[in-house]
């Protein structure tokens, strides 16, 4: 006959049975989890290459790399990417990286020097294939390096990596067309550009129907001219074709009188106001531009100021479709060359060359070197850094203590039942 037993005892037996089932379920989950997660290999960037045999060993579902002291070599990245492509879940973590960005292009001037712009975090060193070109302690505000004859690939080395870029290809720089009355401004603008190495064609009307020209008159398009410089109202006759030229990618520099022409109204970056005299009584060789009178420019919304005198915008620029337009508010720039300091001739021609170079058509930025952006390529290959480490599979899914506990529970439950006469 079955003993009905103490209700408390029955409750205890049921609890022990429940605990036994719960432990069995937990053990089964551990076994399943261990099989699902597989093994994770931990790698250190300093010794990652010595870990290749372990990864190749097989049986690893995941690997985690802890980066310290800068990114590993590109070859290491590629091997890790290959493992990722082979099915290994690859992750990495480390201190925040300090990226370095670099662009390289040819200056659109006759010497076609190479212009490098670098920005980064912390110290950055710029070098070419031969030597260091420049360095800066904090590159967060950018660094510009101009080199006349650089050699090989350019590198910008920061604390976390090295950006690199190939040199930009040289390009054919077409002539500049200068249009202006017979005046000192026209004469010395042409002189400055020629002395700086530009090929200049000029159209200078000197009497009704009489024009002094240099160079051969060619169709006004980007295949023939790098830029047009219109100095005054004598550009009226060609204004319509100049507008079409700019919209197809040509460059245009306008002095204030030319900028007032109605045909250029849709192109100009600024409205030309009344002329403002220089505050100086005589020409100050130490401050040549400040000595000149300037015609203030009221900029349009899409224009940028290239030169400001006090609160007055003196030079402004904007893009017009594929072309670029600069308006110069300075008057009688030729006086800079004649009345300026010892370097006036050089400075005047440099200023003109840069102004024309800012709008000139031709050339383009250099292509990045194949490994030019190491951080970007690293993240592209391995994904962004993780902050939570991948879960590791339990080392022993069925620990011995689990069996002991389980057996003890079952034994206690069985003993209780037997001692009260139940099966």
């Amino acid at each position: 006959m079955l003993s009905r037993g103490d209700p408390m005892r029955l409750w205890a037996e049921r609890t022990l049975r429940g605990a036994a089932f719960a432990l069995l379920a937990w053990a089964m989950w551990r076994v399943a989890a261990a099989n699902g997660v597989g093994r994770v290999v931990s790698l250190e960037s300093a010794s990652v290459e010595s870990a290749w045999p372990r990864l190749l060993d097989g049986g690893h579902d995941a690997a985690h790399l802890t980066v310290s002291g800068g990114l590993p070599a590109d070859s290491t990245r590629d091997v890790l990417a290959a493992f990722a492509h082979a099915g290994v879940r690859m992750s990495w973590s480390g201190p925040s990286l300090s990226p370095v960005a670099m662009s390289v292009e040819r200056v659109r001037e006759p010497d076609q020097s190479t212009l490098m712009r670098v920005i980064g975090v912390g110290r950055v060193v710029v070098r070419d294939g031969i030597s260091v070109l420049d360095s800066v302690g904090d590159a967060s505000r950018g660094l510009t390096v101009v080199s006349a004859a650089p050699q090989g690939v350019f590198y910008a080395s920061g604390t976390s990596g090295t950006a690199s870029a190939l040199p930009a290809a040289a390009f054919a720089l077409h002539p500049v067309l200068v249009i202006g009355r017979a005046s000192w401004e026209t004469k010395f603008t042409v002189a400055a550009l020629e002395e700086q190495g530009w090929t200049v064609e000029s159209h200078v009307p000197v009497a009704p129907g009489v024009e002094v020209t240099t160079g051969t008159r060619q169709p006004l398009d980007t295949a023939h001219y790098a830029a047009v410089v219109a100095l005054d109202s004598s550009a009226t006759e060609q204004a319509t074709s100049i507008v079409a030229y700019v919209r197809s990618g040509g460059g245009l520099v306008l002095l204030s009188e030319a900028a007032r022409l109605g045909t250029f109204a849709a192109l100009v970056p600024a409205t030309v106001d009344a002329r403002q005299s220089s505050t100086k009584r005589s020409f100050d060789p130490a401050a040549p531009l400040a000595s000149l009178s300037v015609t203030p420019l009221s900029m349009h919304d899409d224009a940028v100021a290239l030169d400001v005198r006090g609160v007055t915008v003196a030079v402004a620029a904007r893009r017009e479709r594929a072309g670029r337009v600069v308006v110069v508010g300075y008057d009688e720039l030729w006086r800079w060359r004649l009345e300026g300091g010892d370097d006036a001739v050089f400075a005047h021609r440099r200023w003109w060359s840069r102004t024309v170079g800012a709008v000139a058509a031709g050339g383009g930025p250099a292509a990045n070197a194949p490994e030019g952006a190491p951080i970007a390529r690293w993240i592209d290959a391995l994904g962004p850094a993780v902050t939570v480490l991948p879960s590791r599979a339990p080392a022993d899914p069925l620990p011995p203590w689990l069996l002991v506990v389980l057996c003890s529970i079952l034994l206690a439950e069985w003993g209780s039942r037997r001692t009260r006469g139940a099966r």
């Binding site: 004469k187 010395f188 200078v204 060359r337 006036a344 001739v345």
Partner: protein, 204 residues
């Protein structure tokens, strides 16, 4: 309307810089008459030793008497030439043995270098009017005054490929030294070559 060109006569400390006072008005008249250049109605005179010289990239220098530049004048002439100015010098004596020619050519050589003969095919002779035979002869040459020579060529000094000194033995100072109103009595305007000098200076 502001002027694009102002005729400038230079004053030098030695000699008689103001020996041809009617030349500026006559050339200004011709420039205004034949061209569309915005020319100032009156000329200016500036000291060769002053910074004002550099406001006028074409300057006219003439005289009869010996020329001796001061150090400042010499330095200014050198810098003026280096920066693109053109100094147009005319020997008012029309005499290669005259004191002006001897001393002025010495001074120019000291300041900017020796002069050389200017080819009669130079662009100067076609810059506006065409002078197939080079510089036009003056009545003083044709009448046998001065050195009794017809000078076939002008002389010049170049800074690179740009002319910085143009020198004449032809006495244009006398040839052009009359009131502009009297041009109407001439069958051929003899100031046309002066227009070429101005146009050349402004465009080359």
């Amino acid at each position: 309307m502001s002027a694009d060109f102002t005729f400038c006569t230079v004053q030098y400390d030695s000699g008689d810089w103001d020996s041809a006072p009617l030349v500026p008005a006559n050339l200004i008249d011709s420039v205004a008459r034949y061209t569309s250049i915005r020319v100032a109605p009156t000329g200016v005179s500036v000291p060769l030793g002053s910074r004002d010289l550099f406001r006028y990239p074409l300057a006219f220098l003439t005289g009869h008497l010996p020329v001796r530049f001061t150090d400042l004048e010499r330095r200014n002439v050198k810098q003026y030439c280096e920066r693109g100015g053109l100094l147009f010098v005319d020997d008012h004596n029309h005499d290669v043995d005259g004191v002006f020619h001897k001393t002025c050519t010495e001074e120019i050589a000291r300041a900017v270098g020796p002069m050389k003969e200017l080819s009669n095919t130079h662009a100067l002779f076609k810059s506006f009017f065409t002078f197939e035979d080079g510089p036009p002869a003056t009545s003083h040459e044709l009448n046998g005054w001065g050195d009794n020579l017809i000078h076939k060529h002008l002389q010049a000094v170049f800074a690179g490929d740009r002319m910085c000194v143009l020198y004449s033995n032809k006495d244009y100072s006398s040839e052009w030294g009359y009131h502009p109103d009297n041009k109407r009595f001439m069958s051929v305007d003899n100031t046309k070559f002066g227009v070429n000098v101005v146009v050349y200076a402004l465009t080359r």
